[in-house]
Amino acid sequence: MEEINALLLIFIIVCAVSVSLSKTPLSAVIIFMAQSLAMSVVWILLKAPDLGITEAAVGAGVTSLLMFAALKKIHAMKDVPNEKHNKEN
């Protein structure tokens, strides 16, 4: 158990550093998501399942979705080819 805990903590630190070093905002958000997911497992290992569920739902889920929506709004994300739009054009 100790080893898994240490591994997860190292993973979290690596993620936190690489978020600020990543070149594109999209990859930063995805790394942030992975960090939140590891953090939720750490909460459960620390015997705080309440926090684990909340971290997984809010940190990894809703926050990242909001950031994706914001990235799409400022066009920082490459557009997915939209079938409907292609047909119209």
């Binding site: 905002p25 569920i53 739902a57 889920g61 979705l65 929506a69 920082a76 079938e83």
Partner: protein, 305 residues
Amino acid sequence: MRSIIKKIKGFIDNGVDPLGDEMLSDLEYTKVTENEVEIAPKLRREPERIKNRKLANALYTVSAIALCFAMIVILTWNVNGLPFFGGADTLVDSEVGRFYIENGLKDTGATNIITPIILSYRGFDTLGESHVLFIAMCAVLILLRSAPVNPENHLQAYDAAMESDEPWEDDILKAFGRVLMVLIFVFGLYIILNGNTSPGGGFSGGAVLGAGFILYLNVFGHSAAVKFLNFKTMQSVTAAALVSYSIFKGYHFITGFNEIESIFGNGTPGTIFSGGMMLYLNIFVGAVVSMTMYSLFVMFRKGDF
């Protein structure tokens, strides 16, 4: 203006595209470099300003690094003062924690000790948190509203605007979404309803439910989601939940302070209907949180109401 263009140039060189469609074309790029040559003599006339700016930038960097290290030192120093994790005598010097553990089950009848702390002993804080969420939702609504509002039928105008931005039709996504959505909704409801007997509660369950609504919107599109969740239902569910929470909590405060027997009782510990009114409070908090998450996403997605 020139500095802004230079900044954008720097972003593009670093592989970041902050403005997307408004990216500089090659033609404009050369124009910028020509302008630079024209403006250059002007710049040479005020070297003081540039010097000051460089000094300010260096100061900013140094102070940011110093602040970060100061925060690291302060936080690490404070962690040393915390009680040892999982120690047998950790709770000896914490009167509040010991009180909760010794009297929590007897006072409230909930087996998950976190829930009575959040909803009963510190229910006033949770009431404030729910209102903060509601205010955050209103603030995002005010800030992100970009379309001209037609007071007569702006709800219909909003729905029409949303329909133009339907997601990509994908059969695989739809097939998986149908299976996943049932699991997510059932899990969210389970967390809310079992908040007083097992880990979870209104906030985490509501967040899971909200994520489920967002998944539904992304998989089946706005035209399907608006059939059961439009702006009006969102607002009325949130307002009704907040008002009911306040009324239930007010009743709880009155009976608790005057030591009157509450009509909810404590129930049998371990069952869903235990812990007095905690089940209902969890449902209200869950409704507020899920609606807030969903509406935040809707507003970030389209940006107008």
